[in-house]
Symmetry: C2
Subunit: 415 residues, 2 copies
């Protein structure tokens, strides 16, 4: 077994992947294996008893949104009675930021990797503040989700339906990485690019001027509008490299607030997990590290695909949001070249003389060099119902990579 | 006379200036001193006989647009018969990119510096390709100008009229400099920010869906949409520092394709001029340096106000358009700190640890250090009627700064 060659194949497939946003569709109608009593969640598998506060809050909100429960008490009762199934987004070709709770009736983005034909899904982004993905579930949170589902999602879908084949997210990311984004925690340029590209289409498909204005304002004012299509694009990209016999490339990295888990291309669908860290970063007014939940969300699919913290040298302004210095942002990218196998030609970093972003984490290098992947992330409040309290930086535990490497060596007999 | 103190006053006023886009209005109705037989142009004063090819082309196009001439021959005849007056934009509180030809019936942006109350004007941006400002005047050029005047301009004005006090261009630039723009030759982020901010307003004021879609597409697809409001904002900023007794700060720098001219804050409205250089840069397919016009345009008002080439460290991706390396972009900004008096706190450069851009060129430093200001610029074809052929870098001649310093010393008796 030539592991290096298998890894090259994986990274080549990830670089060839061309994720295109095709439509917005109800999860039940498109996400593989979605069913009425199923909530998808971020990270590796987890049961209610071990769920973190924000994950529990999002579950409660998801059940209320879905119309299955009228309030927190009823939702918790249903869960404790075993009436709700929980499965990772990643086991359904999907990804969700933070808690990642995705209910059957929710509208989701559908991304197709038009090179290899595989698809991936992600919910619509709610913006900042009190939002479900950070574990908030008050009436305003649910009301916004309903508006997104009934108004925003269908309008974006109608707009995409008159586009020329959808929106090329690889192209959009390629541009936004030249505009100070890293694609995970800073999507400011990408989100206005997304808005500006959708606007002429939205103009054609909406009759009510006020509704149209609201939709354009919601998309344009939310510096994370494009995060979810980007995450699904990265999922479609990473999936293109998953399941290659003999490859030691990490194809999934995701956190549920309690555990972080990875999958490895050559090791099928097995999860390798470890305890989450707590991000270090900057907190919103009135909050501190004592309020922080453990690391949570599927958004590390961006780092898995070679952007996010791996592309931080392209996004020095991000340090105003996550802490640190522009020099540290540069070093983050430089360090990630050490544990990756390739460089993504479509995602280049101007300040590094247009070098491609580090792409394809080799778990062997992680363990050999003692360097775990860097992650940029939002920080949720540790209790259900509160929401985002800051943003920062974190790394996953080394033990998980060691476990994965043991399994890899057991299967493939070492290098 | 304390020159340093006068210069501090100038730079303080430039930094306090808060340019806000207020409305789009017909030049005749708002631009001070505009009259029916007057065409404004870029740079210092020039007569027809000495005008460069692109300037002549734009004059011809301007007269056709204005309905004063039906074709090139008639336009040239009018000019040669002395029926047309030419005066610099800068002598009318206006600025225009490249040829900068502004006719009385043209719609212009009105910017108000709400700190000091002064106003400045600039035309609407036509996008890339065959455009008047590069000296093209074919039917398609004129047709686009008419659409911009009759459709685009009024819609932007209607949108601004329902905004909350207009659009804060200082704020927009502050954001776009964190998104890889330098505000002169790279306005990609600023232009989509501009589009995204206008879109929810445009949605409310346009009835025809197709018209609305066309307008949003025109603004969003043109990576220079916001250049003209930015230029007028920089003019309003520089004007806030003009006319301070004893100051040796450059308050205007502009080129007409034949000569480049500057004005100095403490020397009133006198122009100091010298021959233009020819930019060195990258050429579009089919063109080379042999096709290039001399340096042209009022867009150097951006460098005058402390952005453009002075902020190039913020925009490393620009080198794909103007030639050079990201390292050179960094050095350009570093060098400009040597000839400037202040740093603009609102315009910061992440990669330089959020240092403010170099702001306020002291002509004494230029001459003493032998360092002329850097300029990023588009390159026009040297003949009338062709258009843009590339983009690059240039510097103005030192002789002009020496002449200005002689006049300054004559008036103020040296330092």
């Amino acid at each position: 077994m030539n592991i290096d060659k298998a890894n090259e194949t994986v990274v080549a497939r990830m670089k060839e992947a061309r994720p295109v946003l095709k439509r917005v569709v109800t999860a039940r109608e498109a996400v593989p294996g979605m069913r009425d009593n199923l909530l998808l969640h971020a990270g590796p598998p987890i049961e209610w008893e071990r769920m973190s506060g924000p994950m529990r809050g999002a579950v409660i909100g998801g059940l209320i949104f879905e119309g299955l429960a009228k309030d927190e008490k009823q939702a918790v009762g249903m869960v404790e009675a075993g009436e709700v199934d929980f499965e990772p987004c990643h086991e359904h070709g999907a990804v969700g930021p933070m808690a990642g709770v995705t209910a059957p009736s929710m509208k989701v983005y559908e991304i197709e990797n038009i090179t290899h034909g595989n698809k991936a899904y992600s919910s619509l982004n709610e913006g900042y503040g009190k939002v479900l993905r950070y574990g908030a579930f008050s009436e305003e949170v649910i009301a916004k989700l309903r508006w997104m589902n009934d108004v925003l999602g269908p309008i974006i879908n109608d707009a995409l339906s008159i586009s020329d084949g959808g929106m090329d997210i690889r192209q959009l990311l390629s541009e936004s990485l030249h505009m100070g984004d890293e694609g995970h925690n800073r999507n400011k340029a990408g989100s206005i690019l997304y808005t500006a590209k959708l606007a002429p289409l939205i103009a054609k498909v909406v009759d009510d001027k006020n509704v149209e204005s609201d939709v354009l304002k919601f998309l344009g004012d939310n510096a994370l509008s494009v995060l979810n299509p980007v995450m699904a694009a990265c999922k479609a990209t990473a999936d293109a490299g998953h399941g290659v016999e003999g490859s030691s490339i990490m194809s999934v990295m995701a956190r549920n607030g309690t555990e972080v888990g990875i999958r490895v291309s050559g090791l099928g669908d097995q999860w390798f997990t470890g305890p989450v860290g707590t991000p270090a970063g900057l907190y919103f007014d009135g909050f501190s590290a004592a309020d922080a939940s453990g690391d949570i969300g599927d958004s590390t699919i961006t780092e898995t695909a070679g952007i996010g913290a791996f592309a931080m040298a392209a996004a020095p302004a991000i340090v105003t949001f996550i802490s640190g210095t522009p020099q540290m942002a540069m070093e983050a990218t430089q360090e990630m070249y050490q544990i990756t196998v390739g460089e993504h030609e479509a995602y280049t970093i101007p300040v590094l003389n247009f070098r491609g972003t580090p792409c394809g984490v080799d778990i062997r290098k992680v363990v050999e060099l003692g360097i775990t992947p860097r992650i940029n992330t939002g920080i949720a409040h540790k209790e259900a119902g509160v929401g985002q309290v800051g943003a920062g930086l974190v790394r996953p535990p080394m033990s998980m990579f060691e476990d994965a490497l043991d399994a890899f060596n057991a299967k493939y007999g070492g290098r």
